[in-house]
Symmetry: C2
Subunit: 178 residues, 2 copies
DNA sequence: GCTTGTTTGTACCGAATGGTACAACATCGC
DNA sequence: GCGATGTTGTACCATTCGGTACAAACAAGC
């Protein structure tokens, strides 16, 4: 179901597609999601959010070794986005007017990612202003890398860009070591 | 018409919406675009491409003053994307499976942007490998900034990120001045 | 085995979808 | 004026859309 939305977007994913993707008939679909397509998408976004919170956000927020936490973040993210071969549904949905219904979810997702990463970097001794700056740049850079890698059909480009952002983060940490 | 696609995406922009947006009835629409919605979208993308070629790409490619060319690029891009309030249709369309029909257009758009920017930076004395690296990072960064700025509803974030990329480009130029 | 509540498939709904046919209309060279 | 060409609105097409109704199938408790 998540993959169906990821492939076709919200508008493009028809109930027929969703039904085929899940193996459930319309009856079942509307039994579990009385709110229709919107509730289905919301559930998918909630699922994604949960994954990011446990795998990315909290490890960053509670990191005892910031450099290691950043390294695992980029590693996890690279796998998750299949090196840019997989789209970021949250970012995508935010682009269109159909995403207005999920605006809050989209906003909190990115806001938390940035703040978690910033806190991690900051905990390593980097001044808070620079930390936020680096975090913004990294999250934004990952989103851009997905767009570009998909557009050019070049997964290597995703890896290159993410690696550079990782390097920038680690460099800042090394420079401000206490 | 472009704005209709920009707002609703390819799937979301129905003929009714397109008709309303252009003020043309279905008859006229199908008179000018016998290929239907796909041809309309293609025309819009061609239009966008033309604008970027004349306003962004060729000035970069033929720049006599690389630093100035970069500065005008970021300025033009900032205005064009309304500081992130306006979506990059090319990048957006590339994310979904509906964009497969326009894959070539999407690909050449980004490829040319990167190569034009890289050539400009390189003409200022920056080694070609670094130049390509910086160009990739900048174009990707702009795309990410659009996604993030829209998601967070924060145009200032777009400006901040673009400005930082501009600074990185100018810095590289200054460092490798001949 | 019967009851109760959930899960499923199927038939169906009105509305909207992308697209076509075509007659009325305008425009223009001549 | 007249025909030729291009443009427009309208009615219409089959299909698909998201969504509902509901009865059959199922499961669990007792």
């Amino acid at each position: 179901m998540a993959e169906a939305f990821r492939k076709h977007g919200f508008e493009g994913a028809s109930l027929a597609i969703l039904s085929r993707a899940t193996g459930l008939g319309k009856g079942s679909l509307y039994n579990f999601f009385p709110g229709g397509k919107e509730e289905m998408m919301d559930a998918v976004l909630a699922d994604i959010d949960r994954w990011f919170v446990t795998t990315i956000f909290t490890p960053l927020e509670q990191a005892r070794d910031p450099a290691a936490a950043i390294r695992t973040m980029t590693a996890e993210v690279t796998v998750y986005f299949r090196s840019g071969g997989r789209v970021c549904l949250v970012g995508w949905i935010g682009l269109g007017s159909s995403g207005d219904a999920f605006a809050v979810r989209v906003k909190t997702y990115f806001a938390r990612w940035i703040s978690a990463l910033a806190r991690c970097v900051q905990s390593g001794g980097v001044p808070s202003l620079l930390a936020v700056q680096l975090a913004e740049e990294t999250v934004s850079g990952i989103q851009g890398a997905i767009v570009l890698a998909r557009a050019l059909g070049e997964e290597a480009l995703f890896l290159r860009i993410v690696r550079r952002h990782e390097a920038a983060l680690l460099d800042a940490l090394a420079r401000h070591t206490r």
